[in-house]
């Protein structure tokens, strides 16, 4: 049974933000084996903001293509359907939450940096492990804490209490949430992800990023985001809401088979890539 507050939040699930129609259309297209690059290009070109962002991104050194890419079709051919969908999902998600005057700007900027840092971190760790769909990891990292944003918007009073408790006791946000709400942001994020019809893998990572061993078939993906979170917090990339390190899920760590000597090189790469990409997808409130 869910705690009463959570029930209240679920009952308002119809009010939860929805994804921009363009991104939903693109998701449909990506799932349709008959669709072509030209179909996708047509939808993106209709949305000038998305089109401009996409071109800016593919031309950033994050992707490192030697030539300038000036057409949407060119970008699609180079990056592939899934990558495009994930990129646009990336840049759209945070628009949903902007212009909400109740949230302080620093909070938004820092939260965005934390999410973006974890996205980059998950990609870097994925590359290290030769995981074949690093774009998926990127999006997982980006969305792992989305539950915190939902709390900020839907239960602002309780969210304020949570933050006061964090400040007074210097504890993790998840601990403060359990104390005040009886549930925490992974569960809230999962509800939103379900509402958005995101893929099961993504939902599972959001729900289990603090305890990846419980993620069943997606334990590797959840472990990667879990580690990315720890790396970003230790490197002061953004602000996840508190000043504590979450406990390492040791089983999940062992499962990844990362050599301790490889840690620092990965962290250096995350720092470098984060600085690079954050200039391109800066969240402008």
């Amino acid at each position: 049974m869910n705690p009463p507050d959570l029930d209240r939040m679920i009952s308002r699930v119809e009010d939860l933000p929805t994804l921009p129609r363009t991104v939903l259309k693109i998701t449909e297209l990506v799932n349709d084996p008959k669709s072509s690059a030209r179909d996708l290009a047509r939808i993106i070109t209709d949305d000038q903001v998305l089109a401009a962002r996409l071109l800016k991104l593919v031309n950033s050194s994050f992707y490192g293509f030697p030539q300038r890419i000036s057409t949407i079709t060119g970008a699609i051919v180079l990056l592939g359907f899934d990558a495009i969908r994930n990129l646009l999902l990336t840049t759209s998600v945070f628009d949903l939450f902007s212009n909400r005057r109740k949230i302080s700007l620093i909070r938004q900027e820092q939260f965005w940096d934390h999410s973006l840092g974890c996205a980059v971190g998950a990609k870097v760790i994925g590359d290290h492990l030769r995981y074949d769909k690093v774009e998926e990891l990127f999006v997982s990292g980006l969305l792992h804490d989305i539950g915190k944003i939902v709390e900020m918007i839907f239960i602002p009073d309780e969210f304020k209490e949570i933050n006061q408790l964090i400040r007074n006791k210097n504890i993790l946000m998840i601990t403060a949430e359990e104390k005040i709400l009886g549930y925490s942001h992974p569960l809230v994020g999962k509800l939103l992800a379900e509402r958005w019809n995101l893929p099961p893998k993504l939902i599972s990572v959001i729900l289990h990023h603090h305890k990846p061993t419980e993620a069943g078939p997606f334990v590797l993906e959840a472990a990667i985001v879990h580690l990315a979170d720890i790396f970003c917090r230790s490197l002061n990339i953004g602000y996840g809401g508190d000043n504590k390190m979450p406990a390492l899920d040791r089983l999940a760590w062992d499962n990844m088979r990362i050599k301790p000597q490889a840690i620092e090189a990965m962290m250096a790469e995350i720092k470098g890539e984060f600085d690079e990409i954050s200039l391109f997808i800066t969240h402008t409130p």
């Binding site: 700007l105 390190m245 040791r250 620092e264 720092k271 954050s278």
Partner: protein
């Protein structure tokens, strides 16, 4: 505390007062350490003066000494952050690696801050 023009800000300086925009929305909280990106953000918001930690020396506008992050302050901050999880050997490795990386950025910042 010293008041500086936006052009005088350097990465590593620490805000002594919160910064607001013209509509009184909070931009950056007091205590935030400045990065290139944050300075750029303040510029784009049209902020022209902020207060940073430090003291002015002599009487001239440009005689000041700002408090910057140090190797020691980085280590102390990490230790506090890792206090509950430091029994885990992997977390110790992560903390050491983070300390080296953060100190490296500090040195890079200092180099950038040196007058050319």
């Amino acid at each position: 505390m010293i008041g500086l023009k936006i052009e005088e800000l350097k990465p590593g300086m620490i805000l002594a007062r919160s910064v607001y925009n013209q509509q009184d929305l909070l931009l950056l909280e007091k205590g935030t350490s400045l990065t290139k990106k944050r300075i750029w953000m303040l510029k784009t918001w049209g902020v022209d003066r902020v207060s940073v930690k430090g003291k002015s020396q002599g009487g001239g506008e440009s005689d000041f000494e700002a408090v910057l992050e140090t190797k020691e302050s980085i280590e102390a901050e990490l230790k506090a952050k890792f206090a509950d999880v430091i029994d885990e050997p992997i977390m110790q490795e992560i903390m050491k690696a983070a300390a080296r990386q953060l100190q490296k950025s500090l040195i890079d910042q200092e180099k950038e801050n040196e007058p050319a």
